[in-house]
Symmetry: C2
Subunit: 261 residues, 2 copies
Amino acid sequence: MSDSMASSLCITAIPNVPDIVEGDDLAAIVGDCLVASGHMPVEGDILCVAQKIFSKAEGCIYPLSTITPSPEALRYAEELGKDPRKVEIVLRESAEVVRAFRHPGQSEGTMICRHRLGFISANAAVDESNIAETDAAMTLPPDPDASVVAMRDALEARFGCRIGVVMTDTFGRPWRIAQVNVAIGLAGVPATLREQGNEDAWGRTMKVTEAAFADELAAASGLVVKKAAKTPLVLFRGLDWSPSRSKAEDLLRGKQEDMFR
Amino acid sequence: MSDSMASSLCITAIPNVPDIVEGDDLAAIVGDCLVASGHMPVEGDILCVAQKIFSKAEGCIYPLSTITPSPEALRYAEELGKDPRKVEIVLRESAEVVRAFRHPGQSEGTMICRHRLGFISANAAVDESNIAETDAAMTLPPDPDASVVAMRDALEARFGCRIGVVMTDTFGRPWRIAQVNVAIGLAGVPATLREQGNEDAWGRTMKVTEAAFADELAAASGLVVKKAAKTPLVLFRGLDWSPSRSKAEDLLRGKQEDMFR
């Protein structure tokens, strides 16, 4: 691409995605929504898809009435003012509770957990909002990378072009308030783009520049998503990228690099 | 906006921004680049502008030969394998060193600092790359909010429409590798968009949903920025937002909310 040309990226929230229920063929539904909205995928497109529709299609919703809390769950629930059945689900999803606290004035405390998939987030990414069941909790799908790879393969076969798919979830951050979407599943999309060792525009070697490409996509998808209007599907067109075998775990720091141990 | 319509956002890296030097009228240069590239601002546009061109225009570049390290800087430099003069600049920019470490195999350690403006980042956001001087370090501008407000005011006066301006910088994250851009200065742009307390699409009350809007913009700007091609200027068109008096510090957690104390 010439330096003198402006390069534009278009990000579109695909409307009218129906409510998803267990067993739905998500790739078929997503493909139909793309067609219906006039956004047939073309070579190089990337789709960001919200985790919650994968979790719904894959049946990752647990009615609280079916959950028996463990003694550990009862202890955390007492300390944090939480429903012990929800805590039980959080603990089942977690490899480790990194931190549990309840700030003064908070009605309910927070558990920062390392999910069994490695992601560190509040409540092991267990979600109560945006599910139709009022007394239920939703977990991440068992293998987000596999879920988006299957969707990517089906969409590529249907539309005859190479695309990427990213599964996104909404996480908080330790030092900055509010939430941004991050990438928790990758199909074809590079986790990061390294500029490490490249020369910068002034001819000096840049020591460390590695953009978290998949997380940039996820964060950008939040700009067009309106949660209240159910838009879990966001199309990116005009990106400069090459297919990759990255997995979402490629975005995670190793424990030895964790700054907080 | 109707639910049945796809809503599109376009993000454009504005090309041919010249090298910036101390004393440059940045708003005039940015305005000229927008015009030259055929992207006259329209009502509701938001510009993300990289911190480094503000720092250059405002003369925040310090030749290392002029720096005398303090005893504290000498101690950190010895421990971390860093240039004591660079450490001295980092310490001058910092309110607090949150963490200093050198992982096995790292030639140079890392200082995680709370900048005097409140941002927590590596080396207090002091930068060595992308500056023409080889033995110099670049700091953040003294008041990033004021810098972008001045630019916003000048551009609004010139183009006769209401726009927003965000100053971005590239930060690492504690639990995830690689970098994303974050917002460090705001003019007119809301720091966050609260959906807290809104009903979700299923009629349930969502307890906590607050999107870090300005950080989403900053992260998205990284998708079109090519560092090696000097594109510090990114235009967003098609966003749904209302002007705000947010400051960049509105994105920072209070110390009492910090999960790592």
